[in-house]
């Protein structure tokens, strides 16, 4: 609202993800690969292994072309992209952490210089000095990772920073060390995975065998360590945040599964290279890299997803509104926007008045300023798809928009704005996905009623209040569901027609008996 919103047709979030995932896949290689270069050089020189040295020289060129060129540009690319898509978050991070980034820049400068001198120094420098450049490179690269890790983890687990705004309290936040260890293990594995690529085109078969085995020494132990490090990492993520990846939030859950599967596949493929190391082809090494990219991308997706509804935990929502009113927020917290209204608070909208005639147009603008940081209409996280499943009419839509922050384990920020503005958004969304009258009215089986009206907040599992607390007696339950707000004050006042309620109660009782849900049920307790 404070900044204009860039409409990216296929999804702003997807653009950030694309730039960021490609970047991390290269930047982690830049760290691990740096250590790989110096350690391998030492080994080759100690054994007077000229063949290995020759390959390493070529590999250095590959390393520089990938990391210094693409790694550096895509790193700047993240700056460009987050500034375009999340200017409020970027501005906050810049002002809170500019000295961190300035320090990282110093390391980066040293890193780039050392990388280029290491590359050009292969034929020029004596061994000892050449290795010295390699070590300078690796130490600077690792140091820059230490810095950026502090800022990324801060965004997920902001720790006591939200209260104190102290640099180091946010920097050394709860997930700092687990994340650093996790990422370093990834970096080491990637060093080996990228080495497989240049090893695969090696003509000298004996050397190729040694190279593949040497690469495996980097990949296999590091990947084997990842589950333990991942467990350590997850332990320091607040349980309610991590819970998003355990079912309630589809994106986080799916990607967590992908990450585990693809990690296992990477591990298996890496072991497979050892079966016939001399025969490993370029295509196979690229396949290993591609699967690893998938695994790493999935991990980053999970991290980004579980952070929702925040972009900076407990401080700033993904849609650039502050989680609570704080001095200097410019009136851009949810509570303030509720009072002033979007049409007055937002700087970058063209409609300033709301009337019966322009509700859809106003709603479209509200969608842009409040929802488009994560959603599109029909593409990435497209709302059309969700709405087709729900079949909400305008009134129900407006009611449901009032409880966004309860849906899907609280991954969305609450709607901010006046009731009339919420109504305008509901009108607009109804035009996006008109209700199929038959589907809505004929929703007479309990499962459909549940899917359309309850499933965004309630889960089909034991202990869920819906199964635990709702009266077992069909008549009492049907009656209770007629007045949801007195069941629980924060429930939306849906006013389901009686036939639907009866069907729903019947379905709930079937679930109870079929799956053993609601064993703890002691009848309704008003909750």
């Amino acid at each position: 609202m404070n900044y204009p919103v860039w409409e990216v047709a296929f999804g702003a979030g997807l653009l950030i993800a694309a730039v960021a995932i490609l970047h991390v896949f290269v930047s982690h290689f830049a760290v691990g690969g740096g250590l790989f270069l110096v350690v391998t050089e030492r080994r080759a020189r100690r054994n007077n292994d000229l063949a290995l040295l020759g390959w390493l020289k070529a590999h250095t060129k590959f390393f520089v072309l990938v990391t210094v060129v693409f790694g550096a540009i895509s790193g700047v690319g993240i700056w460009f992209t987050i500034g375009l898509i999340g200017p409020t978050a970027t501005s906050n991070l810049i002002h809170a952490y500019v000295w961190g980034w300035a320090i990282e820049w110093v390391f980066f400068f040293v890193e780039i210089t050392a990388a280029l001198l290491y590359l050009y120094g292969w034929d020029k420098l004596e061994a000892r000095i050449h290795e010295w450049f390699g070590w300078i490179y690796f130490i600077a690269a690792f140091a820059s990772m230490m810095i950026i890790n502090g800022i990324i983890t801060f965004m997920l687990t902001s720790g006591s920073w939200v209260k104190t705004h102290q640099f180091w309290q946010g920097f050394f936040n709860p997930t700092y060390f687990p994340s650093l260890a996790f990422r370093f293990a990834i970096a080491l594995a990637l060093a080996g995975i990228y080495a497989l690529i240049t090893a695969s085109v090696q003509k000298d078969a004996a050397l190729k065998v040694r190279l593949v085995r040497w690469s495996a020494w980097w990949i296999v132990p590091a990947l084997a360590l990842l589950p333990a490090l991942g467990w350590w990492y997850i332990r320091w993520i607040p349980a309610d945040v991590w819970a998003s990846a355990r079912g309630p939030m589809p994106t986080a859950t799916h990607y967590a599964l992908f990450a585990v599967i693809l990690l296992a596949v990477t591990f298996a493929l890496a072991l497979l290279t050892l079966v016939r190391p001399g025969r490993m082809r370029l295509a196979f090494s690229l396949l290993v890299a591609l699967v690893a990219l998938g695994a790493m991308g999935s991990f980053e997706f999970v991290r980004e997803a579980i952070r929702k509804p925040y972009v900076i935990a407990k401080y700033l929502y993904a849609n650039s509104l502050y989680a609570a009113k704080i001095p200097g927020d410019g009136g851009f917290s949810g509570d303030e926007v509720n009072a002033t209204g979007i049409l007055r608070a937002a700087k970058w909208i063209s409609n300033r008045d709301l009337s019966k005639g322009n509700q859809a147009a106003v709603g479209r603008e509200i969608f842009r300023v409040e929802c488009e940081s994560c959603h599109t209409i029909g593409a990435y996280r497209g709302v059309k798809r969700y709405l087709a499943l729900r079949q909400w009419d305008e009134n129900k839509m407006q009611t449901m928009l009032g409880v966004l922050d309860f849906m899907h384990h609280g991954v969305m920020p609450p709607f901010a704005g006046t009731d009339a503005e919420r109504g305008a958004l509901a009108v607009y969304l109804s035009t996006v996905q008109p209700v199929v009258a038959a589907a809505a009215a004929a929703a007479s089986d309990g499962q459909t009623v549940f899917d359309q009206n309850c499933s965004m907040c309630h889960w089909v599992k034991a202990g869920e209040p819906l199964f635990k607390d709702l009266p077992r007696d069909p008549n009492a339950a049907t009656k209770a569901l007629g007045d949801l707000t007195s069941l629980f004050p924060l429930m939306p006042d849906l006013k389901l027609p009686e036939p639907q309620r009866i069907a729903l109660v019947q379905w709930i009782n079937e679930q109870r008996s079929a799956k053993g849900f609601g064993k703890a049920a002691q009848g309704g307790n008003g909750k």
Binding site: W6, V69, V76, F108, I129
Partner: protein, 367 residues
């Protein structure tokens, strides 16, 4: 919808050091960035001119390759030195810079695409191994055009960031960010001002190349010196025309800052003008006497002062543009004493280490 209301408000975090610290860092790192950028763009242009002006003459092709081999180092230097001013401009001018970037989001994003392609193009040419080929020239031309376009996009964004009154019209005309700032009267003169300067500084890159080869291959070095020195002179002469057009294209009250209204701005302009004239005469003399020393040390020395004063003028101009919307006093300041000194120490250490690296590599004087 008056423009000042459209200016995004600052975020709640105070500046973590006094305003002037960031200003100093912004201008100083911008200076370094622009010099490196000039070497890339100007050097690339002159390498192409040299290749095509004298087809297949051996020394011309050699000059082309000598410059081409420097570009894969000079481009990362430009990027690395560009990150710092990108960081500091966000610290002080984020409200303007983010907004204008969003208004022209896709073209701005394209900078990254162009940069990646140009970079790999430079590497391609430098790794070709030196056999003269038309394809090298073609790839180089393509990369140089991309770098040229990147500069043009930067000029678009930075002029747009200074003229908030344009934002709303453009933004609402294209919410998906397909905008440029082509209606801005100063855009082309400003961009040409930077481009011509890049060619001049590219000439100095050749002078340095001559300096490096002076003892090893005197005949070749002489040719390089003449070519680079002349390029520098002609481009700097052209700059007097382009510079005046740029000055004239500025809104009157801003132009007058440099013509008496502001003492500092006027002095800086005078330094720039006299420095430019002085550098031309000095270079002309150096070429006649074939004094690589004058061309390679004194002229760049004068030019460094000129570029520094131009960098300051650029900053004065930006603040003058933004005067209705921006005041340094708007920032709350809370210096982060727990980390700011650490930056200074590491920065100093980094600079020392950088020189030690260059020395150990043998790039600084005798080893």
């Amino acid at each position: 919808m008056t423009p000042p209301n459209m200016i995004p408000t600052l975020d709640p975090n105070p500046l973590p050091a006094p305003y002037w610290v960031f200003k100093l860092l912004l201008i100083a790192t911008f200076f370094l960035h622009i010099v490196a950028m000039n070497f890339v763009l100007g050097g690339g242009v002159l390498a192409l001119v040299s290749k095509w002006r004298s087809r297949n003459r051996e020394s011309a092709n050699r000059m082309f390759l000598d410059v081409a081999r420097k570009l894969p180092v000079l481009l990362p230097a430009t990027i690395t030195l560009g990150i710092a001013p990108l960081l500091f401009v966000q610290v002080l001018y984020g409200q303007f810079f983010y907004t204008s970037s969003i208004v022209m989001a896709w073209p701005w994003f394209l900078v990254l695409v162009f940069l990646t392609i140009a970079y790999y193009g430079f590497y391609y040419v430098s790794y070709r191994g030196g056999r003269p080929s038309a394809r090298d020239g073609g790839v180089m031309l393509f990369s140089v055009i991309l770098v040229f376009l990147i500069g043009f996009l930067f000029s678009n964004n930075l002029t747009l960031s200074q003229t908030p009154s344009r934002w709303a019209g453009k933004y609402f005309a294209s919410l998906d960010g397909w905008n440029l700032n082509l209606t801005e009267a100063t855009l082309i003169p400003r961009f040409l001002h930077f481009f011509v300067a890049a060619v001049a500084v590219g000439g100095l890159l050749l002078v340095f190349l001559a300096l490096a080869n002076w003892k090893r291959d005197h005949e070749y070095a002489r040719q390089v010196l003449q070519f680079g020195g002349k390029a520098f002179m002609y481009a700097t002469m052209a700059q007097f025309v382009v510079g005046i057009i740029f000055l004239v294209s500025l809104p009157r009250d801003l132009r007058m800052l440099f013509m008496g209204d502001s003492l500092l701005a006027t002095i800086l302009l005078l330094i720039g003008v006299t420095g430019g004239i002085g550098a031309i005469f000095l270079m002309s003399d150096a070429l006649r006497k074939e004094s690589v020393r004058v061309a390679g040390f004194y002229v760049p020395g004068i030019l460094a002062v000129v570029i520094a004063s131009m960098s300051l003028m650029r900053d004065i101009l930006r603040d003058a543009y933004l005067k209705p919307y921006f005041h340094p006093g708007q920032f709350a300041v809370e210096t982060q004493w727990s980390v700011f000194p650490l930056f200074l120490v590491l920065f100093l250490g980094g600079v020392i280490l950088w020189f030690v690296m260059l020395k150990r590599y043998g790039l600084l004087g005798s080893k």
